[in-house]
């Protein structure tokens, strides 16, 4: 039996951590990432709307801007 036979086998290389399956425990909205989630195959950064045009229109109706007629009232 040669010395080489006594040596323990070299362990198999571990999985590629970057390319392996998604092992994250916490679900994350890709829109909260400041970059595309390439592990999910996204090529562009996901996004979410902050305000919609209808919402902006509704808000503009309730704003009472500083005007001359408002002064002193």
């Amino acid at each position: 039996m040669s010395d080489d036979d006594k040596k323990p086998p070299i362990p198999a290389r571990g999985p590629d951590r970057r390319r392996g399956p998604d092992r994250r425990q916490n679900p994350v909205d890709p829109a909260d990432l400041p970059f595309p989630d390439r592990r999910k195959g996204d090529r562009r950064q996901m996004d979410r709307r902050v305000t919609s045009p209808e919402e902006t229109e509704e808000l503009l109706k309730i704003i009472k801007p500083d005007t001359d007629e408002g002064a002193g009232g």
Binding site: R24, Q25, N26, P27, V28, D29, A31, D32, L33, P34, F35, R38, R48, R49, V50, T51, S52, E54, E55, T56, E58, L59, L60, I62, I63, K64, P65, D66, T67, D68, G70, A71, G72, G73
Partner: protein, 345 residues
């Protein structure tokens, strides 16, 4: 430090959420440039320092830091750039003294563009270091835009001030910032509950006419635990709104309308804590890089600032003595003035 820009924030969000800043950390945001946010942050810090509190003012406007200039400090030894890039490992080392014995400044770094866009880990490192600073009050002046950086700093601080003016663009700006911060806070709070996260994502994707009022009601209806958790979030998410450069009583009507609109649609209370009038004295002091509270202590803006302190329950000296009126407050402010060597007008 090895930085992996693609390291997933989900792993560090948990760590960040555990970093609870002391209750006396104030973030000052606006959602729109030009509202007077930095001027408010400086004078708020100055007022607290005049009452004897140890105050640290942090210039976290990572893309457009200017507090050092506004305080007449033109060549700071260190800036946040030195800490973010690791040249200085201990945040207190970069504290810059000011003429006030009780006010110190952490200058922002604008000389390198990458400081404006720190990696997530650098941001968490900074938030953690801020939480460990030793002071009675820490005032963090944020950038005006809706970025993940500003939203995370705003949410990390227990008390958030929003400075706005009674103009369409400014109100819309602060509303967008506030809504984005609230939704991000909800996502962090419910990060382990995929069903709630899907409700929040639906809310963000659907049209306003369908989505409004659905968010809070749907989360409440999900489970008893979710309802309790949401109520706890709504209890603590109570930003304070300051109207700046006010020219008419119309701002009070806008404040009332915004309070009702936000309570109805998002379930949290937006507390308006002050109306600082448009004041020529503020502009004069600004032009000289001086806090208006010191240059013009008797100005209408200084009086309104005292009223903000009182509305927030901050009108106490470090020894716990209540400062019950503007004239009493002036006595404390005047003690600070000689040290600042204000320019002759």
């Amino acid at each position: 430090m090895i930085i992996d820009p693609y390291h997933h924030p989900a792993d560090t969000m948990t760590a960040e959420a555990e970093v609870t800043m002391r209750r006396s950390t104030f973030a000052v945001a606006s959602g729109k440039g030009g509202t007077g946010k930095s001027t408010f942050a400086i004078n708020l810090s100055m007022a607290l320092a005049a009452l004897g509190h140890e105050v640290i003012l942090v210039d976290a406007d990572l893309g457009g830091a200017d507090l050092s200039t506004l305080l007449g400090i033109h060549a700071p030894r260190y800036t946040l750039k030195d800490f973010i890039q690791g040249d200085v490992s201990y945040l207190p080392e970069i504290l810059e003294p000011t003429p006030s014995p009780h006010l110190r400044l952490i200058c922002g770094g604008t000389d390198i563009i990458s400081v404006s866009n720190p990696y997530y880990q650098q941001k968490v490192k900074l938030i953690r270091a801020l939480a460990q600073l030793q002071a009675d009050y820490i005032v963090v002046d944020l950038g005006p835009d809706i970025t993940f950086n500003n939203l995370d700093f705003f949410n990390a601080a227990p008390v958030g001030f929003l400075v706005t003016q009674n103009m369409d663009a400014m109100i819309l700006g602060f509303y967008r910032f506030l809504k984005a911060a609230f939704v991000r806070r909800l996502k962090q709070e419910f990060r382990n509950e995929s069903y709630i996260l899907s409700i929040i994502s639906d809310f963000q994707n659907r049209g306003w006419s369908h989505a409004r009022r659905d968010l809070i009601g749907s989360i409440r209806a999900a489970s008893r635990e979710a309802q309790k958790h949401l109520d706890a979030v709504l209890e603590t998410f109570q930003p304070k709104l300051v109207f700046n450069m006010v020219e008419s009583p119309a701002a009070r009507k806008t404040a009332d309308q915004m309070f009702s609109f936000i309570l109805e649609n998002f379930g949290f209370r937006l507390q308006t804590v002050g109306f600082i009038p448009r004041d020529r004295d503020v502009e004069k002091a600004y032009a000289r890089n001086e806090p208006y509270l010191l240059r013009f202590p008797r100005s209408a803006a200084s009086k309104a600032l005292y009223e903000v302190l009182a509305a927030c329950g901050l009108n106490y000296t470090r020894d716990g003595v209540r400062v019950s009126g503007f004239s009493d407050f002036l006595a404390y402010v005047k003690v600070e003035v000689p040290g600042w060597n204000l320019l002759k007008i």
